[in-house]
Symmetry: C2
Subunit: 545 residues, 2 copies
């Protein structure tokens, strides 16, 4: 059987656009002699549609389009993801469905059985679990069709399972000869290799081939990396779709393919590719042509600028240098060197006159109290005003440049350096940003060595460095990773680090700065636990006081 | 049987504090001769604890405290809400439990059966549903103990049910003679009356009394209004706890009480009380003594200032007037009149010099393009900088003043008037703010009549009024209520309003401004659908382009 995998980038809620994309790729599949063309989970709807699915008119429009798509389907099957009504009087009344059309009709629907509701997934809010699992005979094969999470509960692979049922196992027991999983699974580092291994165990153990059709898109925070996979019945990965872009390919179950042994590239390459795609697709979908970055002379703004140039092209990235009296000459020179290396435009606008003016205006209301964090924040906020003014005037999307270590500890100013429409590297620890820089510079010296070598500093007071207030980043990031990503707590982390007061201080910094993160720009997610939608922590809490 | 209801305000995660509160109220119940002292849902943990419950050390500490509480319990029963481990290998492994102790031991645990996962509820993320419903014989009664949502699925009351099971019905069938529901149910206008009616139908229909013990707290966005209720077996509400404060009272099932016919006050009174409590409890829990409000001369900032004074006292509310060249003399006079009426402190700091300085600095980078929205936003952002500077310098919590109509349509400036730690009235439509003002002024002329009478204006350009860009607020708010709270869509709303292009424009404004709301301060929730945690809408979507 020849199965075409159409790994498409749907726009959430844009049913007409997504329908046309589905029909175009279907026709391509027909032309190339496919028996079946497979699209990802919720291909017609976009993922995640969130509260959009609660709108009756939206669901009715989707249902009408299902009929249009079915009418366009001929002998070649067309399998796509969408939402359908359950017509029950209890619950949400909506299913997350795989819809199979051929010969002008919807012939078979398999609803999703396992409804994920952890980290970035909130599907129980929207979808009822399928009450039935079935198989469908088509062109001599018995298809076991499932939706995303349905394939993530293999008893042979997982020690701790989220669900009691295993719908894919049921389909195999019902005589399935070919598994098809339509998916929308957000990227995080290491997950593609995990998928490859998990799906290899499944296909090998059950002696059955699998088509795993992935969604590719950046949907604000979430990056869906594509990389659809096909396995033969020996558990070998034999087809791998492109990552971070639309793709279309044919998998013939009768053909012999070479085995692909690795699905994922190194940390640096994957993270950079994911972030570049995240910026590009967000700008495309919001129709922003150009972006703006404030250059401090430090590593973070250099990295964001590099990513922006790779995403949008050098002619679409503008930068601003905003020195103060605390800015070192090095900071300005290093920024100019970066601008030259990347061949992009820039402005230099001092914040000093505005700072002096502001502090004069506020002097009485300050009651002549001594300088403190207020004056540091003022500088960051003047820069925020400059950046937003240029963004408004020239229709740039402002990219914010905070890293994960900073976001975690609150080493950032609300309405200052936190300004922006997208937080590009806020899921990458500071120490990992250096790894990325090293990786970039291996091919071409783009990030000036001075930026890599200097001690990180906010330059908001004389001779300030980040390490005046924070532990060294390597140590800090080890603590943060355990706390944020491995869900460890104080005692466990202290045992590993051996410095309990420091661990307590860091964890407390993370907890008390939840209010800042509440107001941050959306964070592109590349780790298994990012700030944003997948992490929900109370702003007011007394667990750690 | 004498049941003491201890309607307490727990701090999320502050297990020691919450334990002491539980033990103190328990002792009070013992002293007053109660047979059983009942605390709300998750009384030991605080509600909603969010990802805190995913921490093993947190759960272990809670489990240890359960034993301390049990040891302190004598003949008098102590029923409180907490989390317990399910010890299963599948799922989250955590229950949301009602724990009954007496005679030094945990005697009975009833886990929550119905796990809400809609609007502001995400409980499926954390809690497994109970596998068993049971009753417990105590002091001659058969107790049917349930947790919050468990009592919200009565087939006799609801047409569309969320769940198939009805655990409370099961308990009645098992011979329960007294129902006890421990609850943490966030306030919205009308909900308390709905509860009274629903619980009256239940108790009357089944000829059984009920103790409904409520949580009282403001947890950032969510306001839990207390108002615990007791019903006799004729369906009469006979005991009603205080709203918006801790309370303790005894309900004796053998005693005759007068019937209470109304549980909820008028719209204006409830909304004002809820918001006052919301501000007060947020400041208390974050240890902010004083708040700051920027006074524009308009209705919104006047309303927020009034609420702040009621919440914290006049000596703890500071205001700033920040006129520009577009500010009318009236705006300043009206603000001063308000300040005098409320007897609070203020500063006046012009934004003109800073505005002139900023535009001069930016002139080159603006390429001498004509004035546009940029300059309007600049003014709002200078005010934001002033407010944040005073907030930093004097440790004030800045209250933001946007209303729901503004938040909906994006008629606000990010990092400008949206600055603040708490959005006090962002769940109240502009037209409803006028209702509140009328209500306040009935007793005492506090809000100057000029503020009520003038046309709303942002005063960011000459002779600007809100109605230059928005439809009249009465009409706008009708559209917004249908769209946001009744979940209606374009066609349905257009039919009611009769102006399809206007409806389309308003709905589009709401949709495209999701990116602004992503970065807003937490919004105190008083409606059934507020911006914030309970509403999840994609920033990037093509449903409405």
């Amino acid at each position: 059987m020849k199965i075409a995998v159409a790994q498409i980038n749907s726009i959430i809620g844009d049913l007409e656009n997504n329908k046309n994309k589905i029909l175009n790729y279907y026709n391509k599949g027909v032309e190339q002699g496919a028996d079946l063309v497979v699209f990802p989970e919720l291909a017609l709807i976009g993922y995640p549609p969130l509260d959009l699915v609660e709108k009756k008119e939206f669901r009715e429009r989707a249902a009408a389009i299902h009929q249009e798509i079915a009418l366009a389907a001929g002998k070649t099957g067309l399998l796509f993801g969408s939402i359908t009504d359950s017509n029950e009087k209890v619950g949400t009344n909506i299913y997350n469905s795989a819809i199979l059309c051929h010969d002008g009709k919807i012939q078979f629907i398999q609803n999703k059985s396992l409804i994920p509701n952890y980290d970035v997934f909130d599907e129980v809010r929207y979808f009822e679990p399928s009450k039935l699992t079935n198989v469908y005979k088509f062109n001599g094969e018995v298809l076991g069709i499932s939706v995303c999470e349905d394939i993530w509960n293999d008893e042979d692979y997982w020690n701790n399972r989220r669900y009691l049922e295993d719908p894919v196992k049921n389909q195999i027991e019902m005589g399935a000869t070919l598994l098809i999983n339509i998916s929308a699974s957000p990227f995080s580092v290491g997950k593609r290799e995990l998928k490859r291994k998990m799906l290899s165990v499944l296909t090998k153990g059950n002696n059955i081939p699998l088509v795993y059709a992935s969604y590719v898109a950046a949907q604000t925070e979430l990056i869906f990396d594509g990389a659809s996979m096909c396995f033969n019945n020996s558990g070998d990965l034999v087809k791998l779709g492109n990552a971070y872009e639309e793709d279309f390919f044919i998998f013939d179950t009768d053909e012999k393919y070479n085995t692909i042994n690795k699905a994922e590239n190194c940390f640096e390459e994957e993270v950079l590719s994911a972030l570049i795609f995240g910026v590009k697709d967000y700008c495309n979908k919001l129709n922003f042509k150009k972006v703006l970055v404030g250059l401090s002379g430090g590593m973070d703004s250099a990295m964001v600028t590099y990513i922006a140039v790779k995403a949008l092209g050098k002619e679409n990235v503008h930068t601003v240098l905003m020195p103060s009296k605390y800015s070192s000459k090095g900071s300005i020179d290093d920024s100019i060197a970066l601008v030259n290396n990347l061949d992009i435009s820039h402005n230099v606008i001092s914040i000093e006159p505005v700072f002096d003016n502001l502090t004069a205006q506020l002097a009485d209301a300050f009651n002549h109290l001594p300088e403190d964090i207020t004056e540091e924040n003022l500088q960051a906020r003047i820069r925020g005003i400059y950046l937003m003014a240029l963004s408004n005037k020239h229709k740039y999307l402002l990219l914010s440049t905070g890293n994960k270590s900073e976001m975690a500890t609150g080493y950032s100013t609300m309405y200052g350096d936190m300004c922006g429409g997208l937080a590009v590297i806020a899921d990458v620890y500071k120490s990992d940003i250096y790894r990325l820089a090293g990786f970039i510079n291996k091919e071409e010296k783009i990030i000036p060595q001075e930026i890599i070598d200097k001690a990180p500093s906010a330059e908001l007071r004389p001779n300030q460095t980040d390490q005046d207030s924070l532990p060294p980043y390597d140590l800090l990031d080890r603590i943060l990773k355990m706390y944020l990503e491995q869900n460890k707590e104080y005692n466990e982390i202290s045992k590993v680090i051996g410095d309990a007061p420091l661990v307590n201080r860091v964890l407390r910094l993370v907890d008390i700065n939840e209010f800042k993160r509440k107001q941050s720009a959306p964070v592109l997610r590349v780790s298994s636990k990012a700030f944003g939608y997948g992490r929900r922590y109370p702003i007011v809490q007394g667990w750690r006081k």
